[in-house]
């Protein structure tokens, strides 16, 4: 058993800490003040790309992506936590092949990898891709999506509406989840590449949010949107093996610990700010304050360990369904507790609306919503722990 991190990761975290302090947090505060996402041509994105970020792990025909170093998930979780400490919204806004990349690497045809990941090999400019699952009437219950796909010759025709999709309006392509028959549930679901500018893809509306303003959460519609048959992720043959819905849920399963790590990062930031404020206000002599700060630090540590456990299991190819959901449920809750305590310590200062803790308080709420609410995480865990039926 070992709870230490190696020198390489320690160094990486130091680098990210400096980048976070100097670039990420200022960009996040700027977006929060202006009340809208960072523009596509924002210098932050240019510098992000110049830093070597935003590239794909795919390296050309025959490549399945870089061979992940040992412990890649655990490393990624800790880096993600550190960056979210500085601003989780800016992290989500950052260019790159993003959420759909693992699915494309794992399931895409060679032609699809070249066509859709190729532009992310050597970036000529900031580029985005995104994954569209959520719909107005299907959030955590991803099996209930209504966007339809109908085969028409050598094309697919998509109809439906998606919402709260990160970076959708600026994405080169969107991996859209749709169903061949809504009455058939998960088995009828498929993923389609829909490229920017495709006729029928439109109605982009960037939502006004309570927090995490640096990235766009966008609604859009698909109206008789025709995409080539070759845009079906993995090709027709793959779906004859009934892997449609599981393809999408694979992304979610890997995503929950990342969200949890982000939540821990936000919680840590709130704890540090709260502690600094309490010290300056000479309130740390009060045992009631100390007790509550101790409770938060303890629960943040526990939430981090839960994330790392979920990540460690993933690194070792072991099932992590319960652990991933547990980390998500716990991390999000603790982040809310941390930011709420921070607000309480600020007192009336928190109500002014210009303190970082107030921003973190708004930001943290989303962590208990995205990728399945805390209640949904308990449903997922209960299915494993007590065989809770799906219906």
């Amino acid at each position: 058993m070992d709870f230490s991190i190696d020198a390489k990761l320690r160094d990486r975290l130091e680098v990210e800490r400096a980048w976070g302090r100097e670039r990420v947090r200022p960009a996040g505060l700027e977006a929060d003040r202006q009340g809208s996402p960072l523009a596509q041509d924002h210098p932050y994105f240019q510098d992000f790309v110049a830093r070597g970020e935003g590239r794909t792990r795919w390296h050309g025909p025959g490549s399945k992506g870089e061979v992940p170093p040992p412990g890649v998930v655990v490393r990624a979780l800790l880096v993600s936590e550190e960056l979210a400490y500085w601003d989780r919204g800016v992290i989500v806004a950052s260019p790159g092949p993003g959420l759909p990349e693992p699915n494309v690497l794992a399931l895409g045809t060679e032609e699809q990898k070249e066509r859709f990941l190729g532009p992310f090999v050597a970036l000529d400019r900031p580029r985005w891709a995104c994954f569209a699952m959520t719909e107005p009437s299907a959030g955590s219950d991803a099996a209930a999506i209504c966007t339809t796909a109908r085969k028409d010759g050598d094309h697919w025709i998509l109809n439906g509406a998606k919402c709260f999709i990160g970076n959708a309006s600026r994405a080169d392509w969107i991996l859209v989840q749709a169903t061949l028959d809504p009455s058939k549930g998960r088995d009828a679901q498929r993923s389609f590449f829909v490229e920017k500018g495709t006729p029928g893809l439109g109605g982009f509306k960037i939502e006004k949010k309570m927090g995490l303003k640096a990235y766009e959460s966008t609604s859009f519609s698909l109206v008789d949107c025709r995409v080539p048959a070759s845009n079906l992720l993995g090709g027709e043959a793959r779906y004859e093996r009934r892997a449609g819905f599981k393809t999408a849920m694979r992304t979610f399963n890997a995503g929950r610990p990342v969200i949890a790590a982000n939540a821990v990062g936000i919680g840590r930031a709130a704890l540090d700010e709260a502690l600094a404020f309490a010290r300056n206000a000479d309130r740390l002599g009060d045992p009631r304050i100390r007790d509550r700060i101790e409770a938060l630090a303890r629960r943040l540590r526990m939430a981090r360990l839960c994330c790392l456990r979920a990540g460690w299991l993933a690194d070792h190819g072991k099932p992590n369904i319960v652990e991933a959901s547990m980390s998500k449920a716990l991390g999000a809750t603790v982040a809310e507790e941390a930011t709420s305590l921070g607000m309480e310590l600020l007192g009336a200062v928190g109500a002014r609306g210009d303190h970082l803790i107030e921003k973190l308080y708004r930001d943290a709420k989303a962590m208990d919503i995205v990728e399945g609410t805390g209640q949904i995480q308990r449903v997922i865990m209960a299915r494993q722990l007590v065989k809770l039926p799906r219906s």
Partner: protein, 361 residues
Amino acid sequence: MIDLDPGDDLELLRQTARSFALEELVPRLRDAEADRAVSASVRAAFAQIGLAGLELPESLGGAELGPLARAFVNEELGAGDAGAALALDPLGPALYPLLELGGEPALVEYGLPLLEEEGARAVLVCDDDASLEVVGDRLSGWVPWVPADRPDLVVVLTRDGALVLREGFESEVLRGAGLRAAGASALRFDAVPVAAQWRDTAAAARARGRARLYAASLLLGVLRHGAEFSRDYAQQRVAFGRPIAHHQGLAFLITDMHMAVEGARLLIHEAAWRAESAHPFEDAAASAWVETVSASVLVGPACVQILGGHGFMQDYPMEKAMREARALGLWLGGADAAREDAGRALCAGPPPVALSAGGIL
């Protein structure tokens, strides 16, 4: 780099302790409670599997294993019968002040004689708020509860040191709220002679940290058993046409209990790993203890609640789990002292708060 695999040795130890608990402790837990002791056959079985000298130095015939091994073993024994686990460990956490402050000579002088006398027990008293009075080489005061009938040795751990009492104290045997297999008594000290005394604040803090991990891992076992037993029951018991575990109110309670147990275990293991790796661990141990006690406040009553009326009856072990969990959480100064220790340490330095020590998580 992070590796949560316990490895073959710890896994073997865990399986050994688990088998012993299931085969020897669980079938006799009501007998042990009624007898306020474990039977000779159980003692013999325990001696046979070699867990008795788990943390004793090799030079004194022990296995000299560390805090992680103790955490793994205590969880399993606690899941079987926490009171019996205490009864089977003559020194219990009193070992730590002897080792950390007095070293091997103290262990030879005060500890080893207890190992040779069947049923002999030492108890640890954490006098965190200095309520006991030492005048010269005499100690006076009162301790309302220790989990032993008429202990043979009392080790008092203070903020700045430890002292040993061998004789002259009065024990008043109590019914005990829980852990009755270990016994229960109140101790009265009326100018009792101090047999040995050491002063070393850092060593006292280490001893306190290890004692908290000892108690936390035992309590964790109680909680795990309560959570798993009640979960199994909830999948069998049918109400309103389906297993009660499939009513969402209970399903969510069961997941919360699972999370509480798993989270506490991670904190205990991390703190134990720190202790074993010679990193600062005292604050992490305090936090792990507080979190485990907090978990017990949820899990203890909830495991009775899930069984409903059956939970309240002694035909099932859940009422025992609830009592034992609450009693264990009051041991060694309880959670409040630990919370204060961790809180003070946390607030002593400037942000950023290190959820980890330098170079480690």
